[in-house]
Symmetry: C2
Subunit: 381 residues, 2 copies
């Protein structure tokens, strides 16, 4: 990459924007990030950090392959961020548990396991005793579980802090609480306008998550149709080590943290930009958690919060170059933004360097121009 061609601007300092900026900076680019709020404090902060493409049951093959690649890249990514920042993001890839509480659920898990094994994904069915041996806090109603080795979780709040520090260490400038609009001519991006004035840039990347559709100044064909999909979460205060692995139960997942917090998530709601924690949201999560694990009853509810995932019409992200030269998209990751940060950062950095899609063709916004894509515009959830 020839940095003399000008700076790169990333709009949006979530995990995606930060990871892209870090990657570009490590490759030698001069990078600025602008965020409307605080870095890594929206969906990046609200998520549970699940790294589980197979548990998410992603059906699109291109997206599944991209998620699997990103999962493979995660250890090296976290290591590079740690090397630059000194902050350990607490990566755990010791498997995800999916618990079954009746025969029908167990049979469905078994079919899922066989399908995964046919793809070469390492997983195994656990009988009741084996499941209790790994996660003894589950309800006595447990009949078995599926353990997907290789999946896991990362502490996304720590990863956010780590990336902010890593970016700073690599010379990235992060500007907070900053309104940004893009400036372009008929052919290509010129830079961004912020309160202080115009900032020229060779490349501008829209990494604004659920807010990506509101970045002003670009042709409508380059505006990604991203809409917020609300997720509510709660945290319980449990003894450290009480839950060992990220565990899916009917209606919720439970993900531990090193400090004893147990995250319970998450609702999936179309509620615009409403970020309220609601009666039904909290009830749904507690009901699912307590049904699967009555042992959680007397632990404290220490936190409740919501986040807004960037949903897209067809469930695929918008990644890569657009019709506007120098303007790139990196949004629409829906439930997989934390998982996809490494692969997104690598691919977008490649695309910025080469000006090509760099393997991101399935995720191009150009797909919306086709009838097939339009037919696929059903629901985000």
């Amino acid at each position: 990459m020839n940095t003399s061609e000008g700076d790169v601007v990333v709009v949006g300092a979530g995990l995606i924007g930060l990871a892209i900026a870090f990657e570009l900076a490590e490759r030698g680019a001069s990078v600025r990030i602008y965020d409307r709020g605080e870095p890594a404090r929206a969906a990046s902060w609200a998520g549970a950090g699940m790294l589980a493409p197979y548990t998410e049951r992603i059906t699109n093959e291109a997206l599944l392959a991209f998620c699997a690649a990103s999962l493979t890249e995660y250890p090296a990514f976290v290591q590079r961020v740690f090397a630059a920042s000194g902050v350990d993001a607490h990566l755990h890839l010791d498997g995800v548990i999916y618990a079954a509480f009746d025969a029908a659920a167990l049979e469905a898990l078994d079919r899922h396991a066989r399908a995964l094994q046919a793809r070469g994904v390492e997983c195994e069915m656990l009988d009741r005793a084996s499941a209790f041996a790994v996660e003894p806090w589950l309800s006595a109603e447990l009949v078995g579980a599926l353990l997907k080795r290789g999946e896991g979780y990362v502490d996304n709040r720590r990863l956010g802090r780590a990336l902010v520090a890593a970016c700073a260490a690599r010379g990235v400038r992060i500007e907070e609480n900053c309104a940004v609009s893009v400036e372009c001519d008929a052919r290509r991006v010129l830079g961004v306008r912020v309160e202080r004035g115009f900032v020229p840039a060779r490349a501008v990347i829209n990494a604004c998550g659920a807010w990506a559709a509101s970045v002003a100044g670009v042709p409508s064909s380059c505006v990604p149709p991203v809409a917020p999909v609300k997720g509510q979460m709660i945290a319980l205060g449990v003894p450290i080590g009480f839950v060992r692995r990220a565990t899916w139960v009917p209606g919720a997942y439970l993900v531990p943290r090193h400090d004893g917090r147990l995250l319970v998530g998450a609702t999936v709601e179309s509620a615009g930009f409403d970020k309220r924690v609601t009666a039904s949201g909290v009830h749904e999560l507690l009901h699912a958690a307590l049904s699967a694990a009555p042992a959680l009853a007397d632990f404290a509810v220490t936190e409740t919060w919501t986040g807004l995932r960037p949903g897209t019409p067809d469930g695929l992200p918008f990644l890569g170059p657009t019709a506007l030269e120098g303007f790139f998209l990196a949004t629409g990751h829906y439930r997989n933004g934390i998982l996809l940060a490494p692969a997104t950062a690598r691919s977008i950095a490649d695309a910025v360097a080469t000006g090509t899609a760099s393997g991101l063709e399935p995720f191009s916004i150009a797909r919306l121009g086709t009838e097939a894509a339009l037919a696929g515009r059903s629901t985000r959830t």
Copy 2:
């Protein structure tokens, strides 16, 4: 009352202690209050302010009569506090609704209504249409309701602020965050010891709620066996006026506030002084509220908290003089402390003035010496 005999000290600045201090000060006494924390911030702050002796189904006749008397005194009490403080405590005595969602519950309410009417308590059964007419947000499963006219609620947080201001206006000195022990000789109380030194007092009143058993310095026969009974609460943010009356539904009550908060309470738990909001507590309250009113589903959970009620072995409070001359008890109000503030203040002020029980005989700690009382020491809940 002869104020030259010395000052009165109230230990505990909850609604009970504040109301007593206000009453004594209005009668001309010189009063100090000491509190281990902030005034009116424990159970006085945590409660819902229900003024509903008949809905509480109090079975002890002496306690029921005392509660009924206090309810009758409430409007004048709030008016006097307002006159001294300028703070309106938002008293509502326009009735309490008890909603039934099946035939058996309706039949039980009907029996309850007839029993109350036989006592001269003003109440009426509402059919389904009439119940919806008064509280249209209830579930479509509603089959009828009981409306107890004359019961209601007060905004206990406002009442706390009002009493603090009223006490100040009447010259009461309130000392916060203050450790207190009582000093006495073999016969009578001498005063209290605080960090700054000894404070002589003609009368000392223990109004420490759930902490009343830990007031040091008095003979064990004067230590009330009060223990904390935890209650968890939540608040939803609803449109102002969405709920009009305090409403009991199976498993919870719902009490509105002028600012749009809807309080949902309360669990009843023996958990020592643990004040954590727990998974099962929040789940229980939301489950009860949403079962009775699915319309509440999308409202925000704006607050969760707990309080510790002062429970007693036989369910009756400890009120009035003790074997130690000049040492009085005003604690153990369990779920009825807010309701009982006016009658407690009046009766305790009478007792301090006369040195007699002043009608508080049924609530004397001396009852614990009898076999009958010991046989009644079963459970607090």
